[in-house]
Subunit: 438 residues, 2 copies
C-alpha cells in the first residue's frame, strides 16, 4: 500500500470496546435494564441526530454554545449529535399525546456526545441509561424515580455507605433566594449557575461570578449561611408559601416511611445545570474519598412538552452515564472477577477428514442451542488448535479425526478440568449440555 | 411559553422507536445476537464518530463524496458519523495486532448514518448487525460467513424459497474481464461500478456509463454474454490461471457438501460497491416479487488492516441492516402476532391507605424478581386504575385497601382471565410467580 498509514486511535474522548470491554458493558447495562423492567418501564429509542433547535430552546446556555457537536446537512438543516436524550423523549411524547396512555414509564440506553476536555469520569461519547415518568405531577413520581436509583445501585452490591442522593427543589431554591436574599429573577438565574458550578471552581471564582452578577458581598455571606441550613430551618425562614418547600417536606416524609431516607439527604446547593428543571432536582454522589463527585442526576421538568404542543404533561427522570458509573464500580470493587462466560465448544479440524463433516456437526450442535466454532485451518497442529480454544475461553473441544469418524464417536475435552471422554455421536449432545449447563 | 413551537418530527430519514417498535427491534436484534453467539462470535463496539480519513481511503468514491455526514470539530479535525463499521473494526484490529488471538470472530450491532434520499428499504439512520472473521485467508471462513447468514434467516422462520445468496469473486471478475474482454485495470474499475449499479439504472444509462468509460459496443455485448454464464462455463473461458476461479469452485463444492448450496447461487454480476473487497463477494436477495432487491451483502477484504499497519490480516464479513430486514420479515409474514410480553403486576393505590405501604409491597415483589408498577395517583377511581393496568399490558393487578391492610391480605386479579383470588400477604408472592411464570 502507498501513502502514510492511518492512525489506529479512536477519536479523542471516544472508546473502542473490545470483546472483554463489551462483556463488562453488557453486564452492567443488562443489569440496569433488568431493574428498569422490574419497575415496569418500557424501552424506547430515538435517533442519534436531532435538529439543533431542539437543544437551543432549553438545555442551558453553556451546553448549547460549547458542548454540542453540530453541523449542517446538504439541505442546510442544522443538526446536532444528541448530547442528552431528554429533549428527544419530550419530542416523542409530544408527537403522540393523544394516543399514549399516561402516566408513561419509559427508559432508554443511548450513546451521547458532548465536546469537552476528556478527563476522569468525562468523555466525549458515553452511554447513558435514561428513565422518565411522564404525566404525573405529584411527588409520588419523584419518589419512584429516587427508589429506582437506589435499587439500581443496590443491584450492583452497593450499600448506603457508598453513595448518597442529594435532593432539592428548584422552586424552593428560587423562593429562598427571593425571601432571604431579596434576589430578583435575573439574580436568581445567575446565583443558580454559580451554585451549580461551585464544586468545580475555586471559592474566589465563585465569589467573583456572583459579584459580577450584581450580588453584593453581604448577600454572598447570607447565601453561604442559607446553603448550610436543614430543610426545616429553611422552611422556617420563608416568609411566603412555597409549593417547593411543601413538596420537599412531603417527599422526605415518604422517603422516611419507605426506608429510602437512608440513601437521601436534602441539599440546598443542588440546582442542576439544565434550564428545563422546574421542581425536584437531585444528584447522586459517590461517598468514596477518591471520587467525591456527582455520578449523575436528574429532576422534574414540567414544561418541556410545551416546547412542542400546548399541553400540560409533567416529567421527572434521570440520566445515568456509564463512565462515572464504571469508576464507581471499580472504586468500590463491585465488578465480579469472572465476567466472561464459557463460550461453548471448539471443533478441532483434522486435515484427513472432509471439512464439511465438521460444518455438519457444528450446525447440529448450534441447532440444539450449543455455541460452537470450528477451527478454520485443518493444517494446524492439534496442540495449536487446543491452545486457541483455551485462549478464546471455549469450555470444551470436540475432536473427530478419521478414526472417530469411522467408529461414529467423538472425543470431548473439558478444557478447564483437563479431562476427556469418548462418546458416540448420539451421546455427544447430552454430554455437552451437561458440561456447559445449557 | 413564547415563540413558535418546535416540530415533533424526527430528522428526515431517522426513526423514533416507541415501546411497541422497540419490542419488535429488540426481538429481531436479540435473535440475531443469539445466532452470532451460537457461532462463537464475540461482541465489540466502536464510537459513533470516526476521523473522516478512515472512510476516504477505501470506502468507494460515491459513498465518500456524497453519503457521509461529516464536519469539523473545534480542534479542526474532520469527523464523520460512521456510515458503516468495517473501517472501524479494521482500525480496532490493527491497533491490537500483537495482543489479539487470531482468527477473530467478532460481531457488533451498531447504528449508522448515510445521507440518502429516504425510500423503501433505505433510511438515513439504520441499525446493522456486522459479523466478521479476521485472520483466516481460506474459503472456510467465507463458507462460515455464508452459513451464519443462512442460519440468521432460518432463525426467523425463513426458508430457501424466500431468499437467495448470490455469490461471486472480485478476482474472478477481474480475470474474466481481462481475458474475455481484454479490459485494462481502469476499464475493469469502470465496468465493476457499472455492473454494481446495473439493477438500479436503466439499460440505456448502463450502456452510456460503459461507453463513457471507453468500452466499445462489441465489448458491452460480450460482457452481457459473459454475465449469463455459469461458473463452470466462465472458468472454461479463462485463458490463464485464476485464484478467484479456483476459490469459487472450492467454495461451491463445500456449499454442496454441507447442504448450504440450496441457498446460494453463483452470480457474476455481484461486485459490491465498496472498493475494499478483494475476493469473495455476495448479496442476499429477497425472492418475493414485491421486494426483489438485495437485502444486504458482504465479502472478503484482505488489505484493510494494511491501511493502518504493515501486516497481512485477511477479513471476511457482512453487514445486515434492520430496515430491509424488517421489510423482509413483513413481506414473508415472519413477525409473531404477539411480541409484547406480560409486564407483571400493577399495584392499585387506595387513598385511605398510606402510599408508603404500596411502595414497600412493590419493593418486596421486585426483590423477588417480579416486575411491578404502582398506580401513581391514589385519588383515581378503581375502575380507571384497572383500565390503565390492562392498557399497559400488565398481567395482574394487586389490590390492598384499608380492609385488606387490616386483615393482612391482598386481592390479586388476573386481568386477561378476569378472575381474582384473595390471599394472605405471605401467599401473594408464590401466587404471582405461578401466574406470571417467573
Amino acid at each position: 500500500m502507498s501513502g502514510p498509514r492511518l492512525s489506529t486511535n479512536p477519536y479523542k474522548g471516544t472508546r473502542d470496546f473490545y470483546p472483554e470491554d463489551m462483556v463488562l458493558r453488557n453486564w452492567f447495562l443488562g443489569r440496569m435494564r433488568e431493574v428498569a423492567e422490574r419497575y415496569g418501564y418500557e424501552e424506547y429509542s430515538g435517533p442519534i441526530v436531532e435538529l439543533f433547535d431542539l437543544y437551543a430552546a432549553k438545555s442551558g446556555e453553556e451546553l448549547v454554545r460549547e458542548q454540542i457537536y453540530h453541523f449542517e446537512d446538504k439541505g442546510k438543516r442544522r443538526l446536532a449529535i444528541r448530547p442528552e436524550v431528554t429533549p428527544s423523549v419530550a419530542r416523542m411524547v409530544a408527537a403522540r399525546l393523544e394516543q399514549l396512555v399516561f402516566p408513561l414509564r419509559w427508559y432508554t440506553i443511548a450513546n451521547l456526545m458532548r465536546y469537552e476536555r476528556p478527563q476522569k469520569g468525562r468523555l466525549r461519547e458515553h452511554w447513558q441509561l435514561n428513565m422518565d415518568i411522564f404525566g404525573e405531577p405529584g411527588i409520588r413520581a419523584d419518589l419512584e424515580i429516587l427508589s429506582v436509583i437506589v435499587d439500581l445501585l443496590l443491584a450492583f452490591g452497593a450499600d448506603s455507605s457508598m453513595f448518597r442522593i442529594r435532593v432539592s427543589d428548584r422552586r424552593l431554591f428560587n423562593d429562598v433566594l427571593r425571601d432571604a436574599l431579596g434576589a430578583d429573577q435575573e439574580q436568581v438565574q445567575a446565583i443558580s449557575k454559580a451554585v451549580d458550578k461551585r464544586s468545580k471552581i475555586s471559592k474566589e471564582e465563585y465569589k467573583q461570578w456572583l459579584a459580577e452578577s450584581g450580588i453584593r458581598p453581604g448577600k454572598i455571606a447570607l447565601l453561604d449561611e442559607v446553603s448550610a441550613l436543614s430543610l426545616e430551618e429553611l422552611i422556617a425562614r420563608l416568609r411566603s408559601e412555597s409549593r417547593g418547600a411543601a413538596d420537599m417536606r412531603d417527599l422526605f416524609a415518604l422517603l422516611g416511611e419507605t426506608g429510602l431516607a437512608e440513601y437521601c439527604d436534602f441539599d440546598f446547593s443542588i440546582v442542576r445545570g439544565f434550564d428545563y428543571y422546574t421542581g425536584t432536582v437531585f444528584e447522586v454522589y459517590d461517598n468514596s474519598p477518591e471520587n467525591r463527585r456527582a455520578l449523575f442526576g436528574g429532576g422534574r421538568y414540567d414544561d418541556l412538552i410545551g416546547l412542542f404542543k400546548k399541553a400540560d404533561v409533567p416529567g421527572v427522570g434521570f440520566g445515568f452515564g456509564d463512565v462515572t458509573f464504571q469508576d464507581f464500580l471499580e472504586i468500590h470493587d463491585l465488578i465480579p472477577v469472572s465476567l466472561g462466560r464459557a463460550k461453548g465448544v471448539l471443533i478441532v479440524a483434522f486435515e484427513e477428514t472432509p471439512y464439511a463433516e465438521y460444518v455438519k456437526i457444528a450446525r447440529e450442535l448450534r441447532a440444539a442451542g450449543i455455541a460452537c466454532g470450528i477451527f478454520l485451518d485443518p493444517k494446524a497442529k492439534l496442540k495449536k488448535q487446543l491452545a486457541y480454544a483455551e485462549k478464546k475461553g471455549f469450555a470444551a473441544a470436540l475432536l473427530a479425526g478419521p478414526e472417530e469418524m469411522e467408529k461414529g464417536t467423538v472425543v470431548l475435552k473439558e478444557l478447564a478440568l483437563r479431562r476427556q471422554v469418548v462418546v458416540s455421536r448420539t451421546e455427544c449432545l447430552p454430554k455437552l449440555k451437561e458440561w456447559l449447563g445449557t
